[in-house]
Subunit: 135 residues, 2 copies
DNA sequence: CTATTTGCAAACCCTTTGCAAAAAT
DNA sequence: ATTTTTGCAAAGGGTTTGCAAATAG
């Protein structure tokens, strides 16, 4: 987290309590929607507005601190820096992280060879039924 | 295409000229947005409404004939039945298809092993700079 | 003839914008 | 003191809905 505050400083962005609360909440790695962030932050800052969430998320996207995922057209936000891939539960829509970077590299190699082109980045999403839903 | 008309029949959906035109246009495999579909169909059906495009795309999604892609939060539609993966141009946003199913299988195996779970489906997107943009 | 579909307009999201007051550096 | 950020309300853009008229089966 503190490295993110450093990042804020170098970009001349102010470390407001609202912004820090959003970052802290995102760090919980729950891939929340805007609405979910809003509801969560409102507990500590009852007067916060949705516009503030949107503005912060947009600046964080521009900074590269946050990634937007759009499974099924619904925007969800991910603060992960570590390379990973996602599982989307076909039943409840939840996103699950998988951190096997060796597997990702292997896929990247396979795909590079297949397309014969330089791959700038790789997004892998697998359709799953999450452990909660398969009960 | 004719197998799709069969599919319409079995689902008791009517083969209206507008619907057929949309299917034919999607078959061009250009991953259009709703607006692009609308503009294209309007050439043949000047009085068609956007709502008709939306309604048709939604029923086609439910039928599984069409897949919705959301690169960067923009909905685009894909009629492909053949397994394939996508490249998204980081410069112009265009989607490129790659039909190497052997590579996809290989990735699927790699990932199955990594997650130790049953994978229902696999979505692979690679970030690229397309041939037009790299000129 | 009956059920679906179309096209229009209104309604409904979700997201962005403009601006004055508040807060951070 | 300067510049950014907040919070509000209004505006904007994309998508869905309700309904009467038209059309497919």
């Amino acid at each position: 987290m503190s490295e993110i505050i450093e990042l804020l400083k170098t970009r001349k962005l102010k470390a407001t309590p609202q912004r820090l609360a959003i970052l802290e909440f995102l760090n919980g790695k729950t891939h929340p929607t805007i609405e979910e962030i809003y509801e969560a932050i409102k507990k500590g800052f009852p007067s916060i507005s949705l516009a503030t969430i949107y503005k912060n998320i947009n600046t964080l996207k521009e900074m590269g601190v946050v990634t937007e995922l759009n499974p099924g057209g619904k925007a969800k936000y991910d603060i992960n820096i570590t390379p990973h891939f996602h599982g989307v539960c076909q039943n409840c829509g939840k996103i699950v992280d998988y951190f096997d970077s060796a597997a990702m590299e292997k896929c990247k190699d396979t795909l590079s060879e297949a397309v014969g082109e330089d791959i700038k980045g790789l997004n892998i999403t697998i359709d799953i039924v999450c452990s909660d839903c398969s009960k």
